[in-house]
């Protein structure tokens, strides 16, 4: 049957199992929005207030649910506003498909109104992108876009749709088969390599697992937990890996790296076998490369061959899907009968426990002074919710405190911009997660700097009655910037302290949401409890100690053992 390009788009989305999209209309996509009306029953459109919000919301939707997040925005500024969202998703390997409007094909290149070369602009921050020039190619392009977004190392894909292409008609049948001769991700790890890895692990005295976001993307949390549990191997994760291994498990060391725990950084420096799973040896993890885990043989499991030996040379690389590889690895390790793993690693675990005793970042309690400590707020949120929430964060101190003080026991419960470090990510991402899970509690842990970067999305939350909670750790400054200035830039706080901060309570009220404020430690718990009881979006404004810093801290470029502890 003949269909217009606009109809083909939404029919194709249905075939891909998409029931929710995030977007904002504009001139070049009016044909699409007109057609979308017909599909309102099957495809829910969440109208955001800024295209960056659309992409972050789709990203939060994707990270929390494991599905592909979808956006629809207009040409020109609509497209350029998605760039930060795309770059955020690209760095953290989040499956998205973003559809942008484009001026009619005959005007492309003419500097037409609201024209931007969006495929050119986003080439470096998408896994792949397309400009559809003929309506006949549309269905196959969409099929390929979804395939690319969700397979291999996932990532965002952009599809640019000129106005005349979506108005044009053609015969439509959604392709059942996909042919891409130049794209074949490796899923099965090389058995010989896995065997070598098993042997190395079996011979290790001080093994350590270093797991990253790949564990969450590949849904291999169960297999990872089994590996740590069965073999008594301690586990540290990256920021992106939090939740991949139960945060309250005795073998869990917390995060490693720049703001990692003391014992995690000591363990990674002293281990004899390092098992990296779905992690990419980022500079925030390794610190000074030359002193990173200097005594260990390294196994690296990753689906992306470019991640292997990019920063740190590894001894046993295994390219493939972490879940498949871990399953095979567990099978091989099962054959290592007669090993008493618990006994074998007891000494190593005791050494780690001792490091932990030596430096335990004791949680500041509510009575340490008149000021609210940010960690205290986060611990209270954990206590009150029993951890059964989806946490999103902004970027900076709020993000690191959340990573350190909250125990993430399940995958896909921490949504944070790890790679790009995008301030303004957390709030729209929380909206996206709330759309995916209407019955879950979703809390954005924010700072007063970050929340102002996408605060307009409060209107979106109110419009769709998405009861997202935002805990603003309000220190009237760009806290992490201020911390670096305090530690490394002569305590000169150039442009990092805000002279004007809005009244977040009034601001929430102005949007039709609820605003609450805590200025003293004893007000923290009542505010959280009250916020959780209100079935509406709530801003919680916690006035925290401006001097509080994130510790431990490994200064940029220093070895992991050179931690600033207080």
């Amino acid at each position: 049957m003949k269909k217009t390009g606009a109809e083909i788009l939404f029919e194709s989305l249905k075939h891909e199992g998409v029931d929710t999209i995030f977007g904002l209309p504009g001139g070049a996509v009016l044909t699409l929005y007109h057609a979308l009306g017909k599909y309102a029953e099957e495809i829910r459109h969440i109208l955001v207030r800024h295209e960056q919000g659309a992409v972050h919301a789709a990203d939060g939707y994707a990270r929390s649910s494991g599905k592909v997040g979808v956006c629809l925005v207009t040409s020109g500024p609509g497209g350029t506003n998605t760039v930060t969202g795309l770059a955020t998703a690209y760095m953290d390997s989040v499956p998205l498909v973003v559809f942008t409007g484009q001026v009619p094909t005959m005007l492309i290149g003419n500097d037409a109104f609201q024209e931007a070369d969006i495929t050119g602009i986003t080439r470096a921050c998408t896994k792949h992108n397309y400009l559809v020039k003929d309506v006949k190619d549309l269905a196959m392009t969409i099929k390929q876009a979804f395939h690319l977004a969700r397979t291999g190392r996932p990532g965002p894909v952009l599809v640019d749709l000129p106005k005349d292409v979506v108005a044009d008609s053609t015969e439509f049948s959604y392709p059942s088969k996909l042919k891409m001769r130049s794209y074949n991700p490796t899923y099965q790890g090389h058995p010989g390599q896995i065997k070598r890895a098993a042997k190395l692990i079996a011979g290790a005295k001080k093994p350590l697992i270093y797991a990253g976001g790949g564990v969450i993307l590949s849904n291999s949390s169960k297999e990872l937990t089994a590996l740590g549990q069965k073999l008594s191997i301690p586990v540290t994760t990256t920021l992106m890996g939090l939740g991949g291994f139960p945060g309250s498990h005795p073998f869990f060391l917390g995060m490693l790296g720049m703001h990692g725990s003391f014992h995690a950084n000591m363990a990674v420096t002293h281990c004899d076998v390092l098992i990296a799973i779905g992690a990419r040896f980022d500079d925030r993890v390794t610190g000074k490369i030359e002193s990173f885990s200097p005594h260990s043989k390294k196994i690296h499991i990753d689906i992306d061959p470019t991640s292997i030996s990019k920063n740190v040379p590894v001894d046993i690389p295994i390219v493939g899907d972490a879940r498949n590889i871990l399953k095979t690895l567990l099978k091989y390790l099962d054959e290592e009968t007669g090993q008493d793993w618990a006994k074998k690693h007891a000494e190593w675990l005791e050494q780690i426990a001792e490091w932990k005793r030596n430096y335990n970042s004791t949680p500041p309690d509510s009575h340490c002074g008149p000021c609210i400590k940010p960690q205290f707020v986060i611990q209270k949120i954990y206590e009150i919710t029993k951890g059964d929430v989806i946490i999103t964060t902004e970027v900076g101190q709020n993000q690191m405190w959340a990573a350190q003080s909250f125990l993430f026991n399940k995958p896909r419960t921490l949504l944070t911009s790890g790679g790009l470090g995008t301030m303004g990510y957390g709030f729209p991402a929380a909206i996206g997660a709330q759309v995916a899970f209407p019955d879950k509690t979703v809390i954005d842990i924010a700072g007063d700097g970050s929340i102002q970067m996408n605060i307009q999305e409060l209107a979106t939350a109110v419009q769709y009655n998405l009861p997202v909670k935002v805990a603003i750790l309000n220190n009237h400054c760009l806290g992490m910037v201020r911390q670096w200035q305090q530690l490394f830039y002569e305590e000169r706080y150039d442009q990092s302290v805000f002279e004007v901060v809005p009244d977040f309570v009034k601001l929430a009220e102005a949007y039709g949401a609820v605003g609450l404020r805590a200025t003293k430690p004893e007000e923290v718990e009542p505010v959280i409890r009250q916020a959780l009881s209100i079935p509406k979006p709530v801003f919680m404004d916690f006035l925290i100690d401006q001097n509080e810093c994130v510790y431990p801290m490994v200064p940029a470029g220093a070895a992991l053992t050179e931690m600033l502890l207080v």
Binding site: A124, K127, R181, S182, P305, T306, I308, S309, P317, I318
Partner: protein
């Protein structure tokens, strides 16, 4: 070390900029780059000359393979291959030097493609050393303009099918 890398790509708009953008975005070097259609009109071949240590070359090959439009990547360096470059060179040729220029050209088996009262335009094909030698020998006469194609390369005596392009991954696992 210099490497000659042969890349088969989908013959689609934007592929060249994906490859060149990869090099500029990641700080890799391109010394020369050549693109043309293969016998299969849906596929183009790029011949890239780049340099870097072993780790950088490994990254370049992996990153090229990662591009969705890249069908196959072969690092020719270290294997047996033939490379050629063509140069068009306009050199001053006054009455006194015309014969000498032609003699040099003859030695290098080049051709005259254009003649004017005061200059010759010459075409010479060869490997890098040969092309370089011609340029050096003609320099004293006065070179007016030089256009070089950059390298094209082909492996010797081995048939190269269109594999999946992912062969390098296995190598990476090596």
């Amino acid at each position: 070390m210099r490497h000659v890398i042969s890349v088969l790509v989908e013959n689609e708009p934007g592929v060249l900029v994906r490859v060149s953008g990869l090099f500029s975005g990641r700080g890799f070097n391109i010394e020369s780059l050549n693109v043309a259609e293969t016998l299969d009109p849906t596929i183009s071949r790029m011949t890239l000359v780049t340099s870097g240590n072993e780790q950088i070359i490994e990254q370049i090959i992996k990153q090229l393979n990662k591009l969705v439009n890249v069908v196959k990547v072969v690092d020719l360096t270290g294997s047996d291959f033939v490379d050629r470059e063509m140069i068009l060179i306009r050199v001053k040729a006054e009455a006194s030097s015309r014969a000498e220029v032609l003699r040099i050209l003859d030695i290098f088996r080049g051709r005259v493609v254009d003649v004017s009262p005061k200059s010759y335009t010459l075409e010479i094909t060869g490997d890098e050393k040969k092309v370089q030698a011609v340029v050096e020998l003609l320099a004293p006469f006065g070179i007016l303009e030089v256009v070089r194609t950059g390298k094209v390369a082909i492996s010797r005596g081995r048939k190269e099918g269109l594999g999946t392009g992912r062969a390098q991954e296995q190598k990476a696992e090596g």
